[in-house]
């Protein structure tokens, strides 16, 4: 949620049963403003809260230029005053996604992870137990990883918010006027908030009447299981749609029909739900 309209959009978080207390709002609004100044950021987004055992992290990210995904900076704070930059660790692996242990709440905490033995198949297709995969992870690094993954996999915006400009930048479309009621119910009309990875051809072919500038982005139906990875609910009174991710419990995106009200936020414990396929 963009800092510029964070205050106006907090009531929409209530459709996902979430809110920020007055104290949090005041502190966030002002400390993010100062952060924007200090880091010379073009735009700042509030991302959410990640609960640990002994404490929690409040997360935000900012963009230096107009491009939303180029040189994006991730930040966290524990007291809502002092923001710290999350840097990409020198070494990280996709295995971090499988860590089941909750966050401790201390950025300097080092966690010993044991993911159990790996298995390989011999010539008779009999699994052979391999070495146990054990490693140490610093919580700050894991925080960077988890935040990046959630933004990559579960942050959604309605189609038309992201705009691929003629200069090749991914920017926010200032003309976005919302998508209508019928479109809102279909997950195809939501885009991942990320730089497209699927290839322009594939994305453009999905729609009969595509516009290159809007449809070059990855639509949200590419997450397995299709149509079941997000719970789409509608508030009939004000036609607010909320999309909750089942892969990342706590990640919600909202959109109000025919308006440029949209956003996403995360309130969770930073663990991916790997059992999700067996639970729907």
């Amino acid at each position: 949620m963009n800092l510029d309209n964070l205050f106006d959009h907090v009531p929409y978080m209530a459709y996902a049963f979430r809110t920020l207390s007055t104290e949090e709002r005041i502190k966030l609004e002002h400390s993010l403003r100062i952060l924007q100044r200090a880091q010379r950021l073009n735009s700042v987004y509030f991302f959410g809260k990640l609960e640990g055992i002994d404490g929690h992290y409040t997360l935000a990210f900012g963009c230096q230029g107009w491009d939303l995904f180029k040189n994006r900076k991730l930040f966290y704070t524990q007291n809502l005053y002092d923001w710290f930059l999350l840097l990409e660790p020198k070494q990280w692996s996709e295995d971090w996604e499988y860590i089941r242990h909750p966050f401790q709440g201390d950025p300097a905490f080092k966690l010993e992870v044991d993911l159990g033995p790996g298995y390989t198949l011999d010539e008779d297709q009999v699994p052979i137990e391999g070495d146990r995969s054990k490693f140490w992870v610093k919580e700050q690094d894991r925080l960077w990883y988890v935040m990046t993954r959630i933004l990559h996999e579960a942050a959604l915006v309605p189609r038309g918010v992201l705009y691929h400009s003629t200069e090749g930048e991914c920017i926010v479309n200032p003309f976005f006027g919302g998508i209508d009621l019928n479109e809102s119910t279909n997950i195809v009309n939501y885009h991942h908030f990320r730089k497209p990875i699927n290839g322009a051809r594939e994305n453009l072919l999905k729609r009969a009447n595509c516009s290159y500038f809007l449809d070059v982005f990855d639509s949200a139906d590419d997450v397995t299981p299709e149509q079941k990875s997000f719970v789409v609910t509608r508030d009939r009174e004000r036609d607010v749609f909320v999309l909750k991710s089942l892969h990342w419990p706590g990640m919600s995106s909202f959109h109000r029909v025919n308006s440029n009200v949209y956003g996403f936020f995360y309130f969770g414990d930073g663990r991916k739900n790997w059992d999700m396929l067996f639970m729907v």
Binding site: P11, M13, A14, Y15, F17, R18, T19, L20, S21, T22, E23, E24, I26, K27, E29, H30, S31, R33, I34, Q36, R37, R40, N42, K49, E51, I53, D54, G55, G65, W66, Q78, N79, L80, Y81, R100, H101, P102, G105, G160, S165, T166, E167, I171, P174, F175, S211, Y212, F213, L214, V231, T233, D235, R236, E237, R238, P249, D269, F278, M279, V280
Partner: protein, 459 residues
């Protein structure tokens, strides 16, 4: 002199050849349509306006906008489109960036700093419990409908205490849950329309039955015997207390206060090995005493079994009302008759709720029964969050520390609560969260909220 002249002549002729060659290449290039487009683009790009925008991107935006919006009257409003695209679209980055660094923004930042100083100075003040402190809230206008429904339920006969229990997310929305604690005894008197006299008789007989069973050492020699006997006993109680035309739930409620008192007395009497069931974890004493005389053993086990039966009865004093749409939909009362066995069975299902109370689940369960069991588990987990030292209001609560201890002993569930401590929620605020049920929060002893998927957590 001469040499230099000659060299410049050579150079000239060399240049000439170069130009000719380039020209012929250019002619070849001109033939391709790609190059024509590139040239056109370059020409357009070279027209740069005062705002730093160029003609090429302006036209591209204009065309793409017309293509995206598909206006029916693009020709009529063409000039307007041109104006909009030029004016409103993408103010040049420099202009806005100047603003971030400019005087206006400086004022904003200055203001932000002063507010921050003020907020820092106020932080030591105590804050009242509010849902928003833990980030929970109800959607706009939903709080009104939930509140009205609670008001309606308070007017129901026999309703002792009505509270908003929380929210359970499902695959098609969310269940809003209201918990009602019934005034067990009075409600039953009313509904059964038992006269005072008849109730007294029922009480006496139940008491007599229990006493007779407990004192008879010969019958209760082993565990199974004791348990089945208690069950039989409870059946007898039910049979007696239920007039043929009333339902089972009401009758179980009759037994609550009576059984409670009898078990209480039985514990007082059984003082020999200092068996006291009231503190958490003290049930382990029972197993420690297993080496004692068989009569003592059976007595303790009998007490445990009857305490379990009593707990089940008590759990059914709580009724749950559920609605997935409080504005237009109906509130449904979840079925009663929850037992510890049902609760243990419900652990097998680890699935999201479907959002339809009549939906069939694996293993022959129906969603409403499963939901009831999960609500009971979360509710019991809440009661486990109070520390043993908080004894002041214990006497008024229906489910006591002893019941909680029996519940965990009988089911073998994990439990754990953690004080929430961070800058936003200082320890003094007293919010706690459950380790076993993510989304379950407690404030003090009487203030609970749940907002989650109804899935047990853990690592």
């Amino acid at each position: 002199m001469e040499g230099s002249f000659a060299s410049s002549e050579i150079k000239n002729s060399y240049l000439e050849g170069d130009i000719l060659q380039a020209k012929s290449q250019q002619d070849e290039k001109r033939l391709s349509i790609d190059n024509a487009l590139i040239n056109a683009r370059n020409v357009l790009l070279s027209h740069v306006g005062e705002n730093g925008d160029n003609l090429f991107s302006l036209l591209m935006r204009l065309i793409s906008r017309i293509l995206v919006e598909k206006p029916g009257n693009a020709v009529d409003l063409f000039e307007e489109y041109c104006r909009l695209v030029k004016q409103g679209h993408f103010v040049h980055p420099d202009l806005k960036l100047q603003d971030v660094k400019g005087a206006e923004h400086e004022r904003k930042v200055e203001y932000a700093r002063s507010v921050q100083r003020k907020v820092r100075s106020l932080e030591h003040l105590h804050s009242a419990p509010m849902w928003s402190q833990i980030g929970f809230t109800l959607p706009p206008s939903m709080d009104y409908f939930v509140d009205r429904q609670m008001e309606l339920l308070r007017q129901v006969d026999g309703a002792k205490h009505v509270m908003f229990w929380g929210v359970v997310h499902t695959l098609s929305g969310s269940y809003y849950v209201i918990e009602m604690e019934r005034d067990s005894f009075e409600a039953v008197q009313l509904e059964l329309q038992l006269s005072q006299e008849k109730t007294e008789i029922a009480r006496d007989v139940i008491e007599g039955l229990l006493r007779a069973t407990v004192s008879d050492d010969t019958i209760i020699s082993d565990w199974c015997g004791a348990e089945s006997m208690v069950m039989e006993m409870i059946d007898q109680i039910l049979e007696f207390a239920i007039p043929p035309d009333s339902d089972e739930q009401l009758a179980t409620a009759v037994a609550v206060p009576v059984l409670d008192r009898i078990v209480e007395e039985a514990i007082d009497e059984a003082q020999e090995p200092e068996v006291e069931l009231s503190m958490m974890g003290s049930l382990d004493v029972i197993s420690c005493n297993a080496t004692l005389a068989s009569s003592d053993l059976s007595l303790n086990q009998l007490k445990f079994a009857s305490a379990k039966a009593l707990l089940e009865v008590k759990m059914n004093v709580f009724r749950y009302y559920v609605s997935s749409d409080p504005v237009e939909g109906q509130w449904t009362e979840l079925p009663t008759g929850i037992t510890l066995d049902k609760i243990i069975n419900s652990c097998e299902i680890k699935r999201y709720f479907k959002g339809d109370l009549d939906a069939k689940l694996a293993g022959g369960f129906v969603e409403r029964d499963h939901l009831r069991a999960v609500l009971a588990r979360i509710s019991m987990d809440r009661r486990a969050c109070c520390r043993p030292s908080d004894e002041s209001t214990q006497s008024q609560r229906l489910i006591t520390e002893r019941d909680v201890a029996i519940y965990y002993k009988a089911t073998g569930f994990r439990r754990g609560w953690r004080q929430m401590n961070n800058e936003q929620i200082p320890k003094s605020a007293g919010w706690r969260k459950s380790d076993t049920w993510p989304g379950s929060y407690a404030y003090g002893k009487e203030f609970f909220i749940y907002s989650g998927w109804g899935i047990e957590g853990g690592c």
